[in-house]
């Protein structure tokens, strides 16, 4: 138990930065490489790292199983809902032009919302896949 001290402390040190990097990749995705898919996987990687180092129970405190499983449909609904919101303004499905006064800003906002939906679905799916495989082995 004492031998993995460095591993445990190192993991604790690195965890917030992984999450910060995931958020950076998510919200800076409009200006640099990144987006919902990559950020979702990096965020899921953080939970998996917690699970590998501290055990499954600790990981489930960070990301409860019920929560990650609900994230799978919620993200998809955010995406589909953003598309359907176009209808409210008399536009086509997935046309974000009327979300703001300036069509370009509307599109920017729409892209941000859609990427957020992708982030939720991807991270939820990856973490619940990992939980499902690990639990099967117990």
């Amino acid at each position: 138990m004492s031998l993995d001290l460095i591993l445990r402390i190192g993991t604790k040190l690195i965890l917030p930065f992984i999450l910060l990097f995931a958020l950076y990749v998510q919200f800076h995705g409009d200006y640099g490489p990144g987006g919902g898919f990559q950020a979702g996987v990096i965020a899921a990687g953080m939970v998996i790292l917690v699970s590998i180092t501290f055990g499954l129970a600790a990981a489930k405190q960070v990301a409860p199983q019920a929560m990650v499983e609900r994230m799978i449909p919620v993200g998809l609904l955010i995406y589909a809902g953003t598309g359907a919101a176009g209808f409210l303004f008399g536009r086509n499905y997935l046309d974000y032009s009327s979300f703001a006064h300036d069509p370009a800003h509307g599109h920017e906002l729409g892209i941000l919302l859609v990427e957020f939906g992708v982030l939720i679905t991807v991270s939820g799916t990856m973490v619940s896949l990992f939980y499902a495989f690990v639990e099967r082995g117990r």
């Binding site: 200006y31 640099g32 490489p33 987006g35 898919f37 996987v41 991807v122 799916t125 990856m126 896949l129 499902a132 495989f133 099967r136």
Partner: protein, 121 residues
């Protein structure tokens, strides 16, 4: 000299196709289900390369607009492949889940042993 030029121009495609048929060979010749899935993933990855390679322009840059640059690689294949990668891992997980269930039902992940057990009365 012309021959070497042709080889240099098409080396990417040759290696990509080699990796592709290596994946095909693993899927068709091996009976281990996990190895089959890895072979399938290799096949899939070679398709990623086949899509991205024609989009590259020598001397161009990554498709992030900036006033200093005018030549960008083609972003359309990047979009298609980006989503394909994440879908690929989701389907790989589905395949692995089936393998785990098959292993629980038959006690083996070798194709020949599974067929033998399935035929036994």
């Amino acid at each position: 000299m012309d021959f070497f030029r042709t080889v240099a121009d098409h080396y990417n495609y040759v290696i990509t196709i080699f990796v592709m048929v290596a994946g095909l060979y693993i899927v068709t010749s091996r009976g281990n289900l996990i190895k089959k899935l890895v072979g399938l993933a290799i096949f899939q990855t070679s398709v990623y390369l086949l899509y991205i390679e024609p989009g590259k322009i020598l001397g161009g840059t990554a498709p992030i607009l900036h006033p200093d640059f005018t030549v960008y690689s083609n972003p359309l294949p990047h979009v298609l492949i980006l989503t394909a990668i994440v879908v690929g891992v989701a389907t790989l997980a589905l395949g692995l889940a089936l393998v785990v269930r098959i292993n629980e039902a038959f006690g083996s992940i070798e194709e020949e042993e599974i067929i033998e057990k399935d035929r036994a009365p």
